[in-house]
């Protein structure tokens, strides 16, 4: 092998010439290995930043993107994730589920009333008031006895009265605190991400429910730290979703200022948030959490449906909710099987099957359900979700008509029936943007409700890790979020009115610039064309504060053909909501004479008209003072600036 240059300092120097190999500069654009974790109570998912610069939800080694939050112990083996869920059927006492919600809680705070099929929560034997789980495991056999000190050639040893050491694993009891379980689980998630990236994971952002207390957040952070990963941020679930929806890659991002409704249907609760997204800055206008409504309820109803089906088909009685252990087993089996059914229903319009081998008394079961029947069965749950949405909108005093976008989170929201029900029942406007309308639900698009939280976390983690060496900013982010995140926001829309006598309602053309609920300081710049009168070339505008609302209008009657006489009952015409603007306060006036106006040439219908392109910029200061400047685009363009002081 030729000599490699290994420059070691010797007293006499080294004869090899210096290598021309330049030190490769550290790239700031490359993203360190970080992972986003959506840590739900029943399912978790992980996302990483790929080489292509996209946050993508990745599968664990079992090929699952939705990783069940379950840990099962069987013999010497530990099962984590979806394989553990199957242990709920036969090995329920050694299977731990639903541990996230217990994080950071004291044993006395946990209600013991609900019967569980999984490992029960017990009091930790050593630590006072600490919830824990007790599981049966097999410990590996003790190592064989060390070789005898007597040389072997002397004789075979005399028969000993001591029992032969066991060579099989020994049954043992293992006590795991909730924190231990969480650490185990997070460790497996981190490992999956590390395997995917081929690098050690350096940091993570984890979701927390908004109702988590500080103690619980600290407990989660500690559990993650024990799992060997630095927690960069604990992000509210709504925040994680906003991380995706406020990003520039979001489908609806051309509309920078919008009101967004987040519908998060979990297994056991529905969380709703009404967000105001203003050029990427998001805050919550109102939020609510409705426990007891969610995916589990739909599961119960579908299981009941299939159980009835089974009884009908086989004449074998199966009653759900189950009382005797056999029925309980059947319940658990069905619960696992309908997971697949629900996914099929979400993905394709056809019928979905549900097959269980040996459901009860050794009889196999295969049933089908189509979307319509499914929606019918799940209707009460859909209605409950829709009602929660209506309540939230009422709480926020925002009309459904003013919601620009609905975003879904959670596997249950993949059901198209739920989307339809919410849109119809709550009275959203017809062109409201939903992941279903955008077609980003199917095929793991950007609006995929099952992965959106993890991706949001991954984006945030990548952002945090590429923040650079702005220590002051980092400090502000980590230690002073409360003070800096409490912002003032405008309460009314500020816009420009260009006088035009032909407009009866407002007396001009209304251009909203800074929408209400925009955090200050804010700056908005818009660019548009203004027609000029050839004689004066004057541009004038008024700055107004305005309120948007709507009024109901009957749509123009459609001409009906007379030949369909059979169904001539008069359909009730729905009233349509039409946007209106009400001027509130005149803040200022500005005018200037255009110098760069040009006449349109050619044969179009606008030919001969004078046009100027102007740019309007509105800056709202922290105190609410306004600086409005309107000027022509181009060198030496005319313009005017109107300053409005803040209300004292």
């Amino acid at each position: 092998m030729p000599p490699k240059s290994t420059p070691k300092p010797t007293t006499n120097g080294v004869a090899t010439p210096p290598v021309q190999n330049e030190e490769i500069k550290e790239e700031t654009t490359s993203i360190p290995p970080v992972v986003g974790i959506n840590f739900g109570n029943s399912y978790a998912s992980i996302a990483v930043f790929t080489k292509e610069g996209l946050a993508e939800c990745i599968a664990n080694e079992d090929g699952e993107r939705q990783i069940a939050c379950a840990i099962a112990f069987h013999g010497e083996e530990t099962y984590i994730g979806n394989p553990a869920k199957h242990h709920l059927v036969k090995n329920a006492k050694n299977t731990i589920i639903g541990f996230r919600n217990l994080l950071g809680k004291k044993f006395s705070e946990i209600s013991q009333s609900e019967p569980t099929t999984s490992a029960p929560v017990i009091q930790h034997p050593d630590i006072p008031d600490e919830p824990a789980y007790k599981v049966q495991v097999l410990q590996p056999a003790p190592s064989p006895l060390p070789a005898s000190a007597i040389p072997s050639h002397l004789a075979t040893p005399a028969a000993s009265h001591a029992p032969t050491p066991r060579s099989e694993p020994v049954p043992a009891e293992r006590i795991l605190s909730v924190s231990d379980v969480t650490t185990l689980f997070i460790k497996s998630l981190i490992q999956s991400a590390a395997d995917f990236l081929g690098k050690k994971i350096q940091g993570t952002v984890i979701t927390v429910p908004s109702w988590f207390s500080d103690t619980q957040r600290r407990a989660l952070e500690k559990a993650a730290t024990n799992a060997g990963v630095e927690v960069l941020q604990l992000l509210d679930e709504a925040g994680a979703a906003a991380g995706v929806t406020s990003a520039s890659s979001w489908t609806n991002s051309s509309q920078a200022d919008r009101t967004q409704l987040l519908v998060d249907v979990g297994a056991s609760s529905v969380s709703l948030s009404l967000l105001s997204i203003r050029e990427g800055l998001a805050y919550s206008l109102a939020s609510s959490s409705t426990p007891g409504v969610g995916g589990d309820q739909i599961d119960d109803k579908i299981i009941k449906f299939f159980a009835t089906e089974f009884t009908k088909k086989t004449k074998t009685p199966l009653t759900i909710p189950a009382a005797d252990p056999q029925d309980k087993r059947a319940d658990a089996k069905l619960r696992l099987a309908i997971e697949h059914t629900k996914r099929t229903i979400s993905a394709s319009p056809g019928a979905a099957t549900c097959s269980v081998e040996s459901l009860k008394d050794g009889i196999d079961f295969t049933g089908t359900i189509n979307r319509m029947r499914f929606d019918l069965v799940a209707k009460p749950v859909y209605n409950a979700v829709a009602a929660a949405v209506t309540d939230l909108l009422a709480l926020a005093t925002v009309d459904a008509h003013h919601v620009d976008e609905v975003v879904y989170v959670g596997g249950t929201t993949c059901l198209p029936g739920l989307d339809e029900q919410i849109l119809v029942a709550c009275g959203f406007k017809e062109d409201v943007s939903t992941p279903f309308a955008a077609g980003t639900v199917v095929g793991g698009g950007i609006g995929d409700p099952t992965t959106i939280l993890a991706r949001g976390c991954a984006i945030q983690a990548a952002l945090l890790s590429t923040l650079g060496d702005d220590n002051q900013l980092r400090e502000a982010f980590e230690h002073g979020p409360a003070a800096l995140n409490n912002v003032a926001a405008t309460s009314k829309t500020i816009g420009l009115l260009f006088p035009d006598p032909t407009e009866e309602e407002l007396g001009g053309t209304w251009l909203p610039v800074v929408l209400k609920e925009t955090p200050v300081p804010a700056r908005r710049t818009i660019r548009f064309d203004v027609q000029l009168k050839e004689s004066t070339k004057k541009v004038a505008f008024e700055v107004w504060e305005a309120t948007e609302s709507f009024h109901l209008e009957k749509p123009p009657k459609l001409e009906r053909t007379d030949d369909d006489d059979d169904d001539d009952e008069e359909e009730e015409e729905d009233e349509v909501k039409v946007d209106t603007v009400e001027k509130n306060t005149l803040l200022g006036v500005g005018e200037f004479v255009s110098t760069l106006g040009i006449q349109i040439k050619g044969k179009s219908k606008d030919a001969g008209k004078w046009i100027a392109t102007v740019e309007a910029q509105v800056i709202v200061g922290v105190d609410g003072a306004l600086v409005v400047s309107v000027k022509e685009i181009g060198d030496n363009g005319a313009g005017v600036t109107v300053k409005v002081p803040a209300a004292s």
């Binding site: 030729p2 995140n485 504060e545 803040a646 209300a647």
Partner: protein, 395 residues
């Protein structure tokens, strides 16, 4: 001139609480969700820019510029180049014949002639990848006339039929350089080294040359062949004695990995004759040995030459002499002359010689004694054996 008309009105004074129209609606308090780049920009505004957009814009602009630079560097493919760079490909390089791959400069083919034996395996890999991307026949097929200058076209070197010739050369070069054994063989006869190998000044030529300046690059060139790395360098003119001695020690005991398999004559492929093969192999072996011997001799000669010309050796000798003399002057109380010391030395020598002689003689005598004793012992043993046999016969 406009006429001025007086109106009998006095406008009341401006009320104290008058304000020009201001934003009437109060701001509402909200809590931001700490997520997304916009949130960080908001924090930046608050922390660094005192909520003012003017300086903030500058900051963002700078940030974008920096980002653009990084992206540009990325696009240019400089990110993981490992310093391989792009070398010019002259026409005579592109028109190499892959059949003559043994004669080509493997480093030049891969565009590594600036690194040569210092190229790391990673760099070779990168360089190969670059060349393949550029010269793969599939790529060339889609770009007619690519990379072919007019002269080359005229002499018909870059016809489509011959288009993958250089690609073959690249593959060969990569084969050689990625195989440590082959690479060692090639490095031993690196054409660039061969060119300068004999570029050593003779003693006569050296007279008006600077010793350090002349020999440092020569030794640096040879250093590559050492199995032991790092190799001590020639050092400076005022280097102390240990360093200079260490240097010559190293070079006199130089352990070289250089070998000459690369120059072996190919066994004639056509003939199946074993004898022929063996003959060629034998010749190759002896040729290798001869070259190796020559190489060792050459290096030896070089070191001898350097030692002979090294001004430092003279200086050191001088210094030692002076030191000795000083010592002597110190010990023999001032009056001792050099002649006397010489005499003393001679006397010493004489004494030593005598001693040695004596010793030798003594040894001789001892040897003779031992011989005698041995013979006596043998005789005695013989006698004893005979007696024993006689006893046996009797019984």
């Amino acid at each position: 001139m406009a006429s001025v008309k007086f109106v009998p009105i006095t406008v009341p004074p401006l009320p104290l609480d008058y304000n020009a129209p201001s934003t009437s609606s109060a701001l509402v308090q909200r809590t931001l969700i700490p997520v997304g780049p916009a949130h960080f920009n908001h924090l930046r505004l608050a922390v660094h820019h005192n909520h003012s957009f003017d300086t903030f814009d500058k900051h963002i602009e700078e940030e974008q510029k920096r980002q653009a630079e990084i992206d540009a560097a990325k696009d240019a493919g400089l990110e993981d180049d490992l310093g391989v760079g792009d070398e010019a490909e002259p026409d005579d390089l592109l028109s190499l014949d892959p059949k003559e791959w043994k004669k080509q400069d493997q480093y030049a083919v891969l565009g590594l002639s600036h690194l040569r034996h210092l190229a790391t395996p990673e760099q070779i890999k990168v360089a190969h990848r670059k060349k393949v991307l550029k010269h793969h026949p599939d790529k060339k097929a889609s770009k007619p006339g690519h990379n072919s200058s007019t002269t080359a076209m005229l002499i018909g070197l870059h016809q489509n039929t011959n288009d993958d010739a250089f690609f073959k050369c690249i593959s060969k070069a990569y084969d050689v350089l990625t195989n440590p054994e082959k690479r060692r063989q090639f490095d031993s006869v690196d054409p660039e080294f061969l060119e300068v190998e004999d570029d050593i000044p003779t003693a006569q030529e050296f007279k008006n040359l600077n010793f350090i300046k002349t020999f440092t690059p020569i030794f640096e060139r040879w250093a590559r062949f050492s199995k032991k790395q790092p190799v001590p360098s020639l050092g400076k003119l005022d280097a102390p004695k240990d360093e200079v001695e260490g240097f010559y020690n190293f070079w006199y005991n130089f352990d070289s990995w250089r070998s000459f398999e690369w120059l072996d004559k190919e066994v004639n492929e056509g003939s199946d004759s074993r004898d022929d093969k063996r003959y060629t192999e034998k010749k190759n072996k002896s040729e290798r040995a001869r070259r190796k011997k020559e190489d060792t001799a050459k290096l030896r000669g070089l070191v001898d030459l350097a030692l002979g010309l090294d001004p430092r050796i003279k200086r050191i000798k001088q210094e030692e002499k002076e030191a000795r003399e000083r010592k002597k002057k110190g010990s023999v109380s001032g009056t001792a002359t050099p002649k006397k010391t010489k005499e003393e030395e001679e006397a010493e020598k004489q004494r030593k010689l005598e001693e040695e002689k004596k010793k030798e003689e003594e040894e001789k005598v001892a040897k003779a004694d031992a011989k005698k004793a041995k013979a006596a012992a043998a005789n005695a043993a013989k006698k004893a054996r005979r007696a024993a046999r006689a006893v046996e016969d009797d019984s």
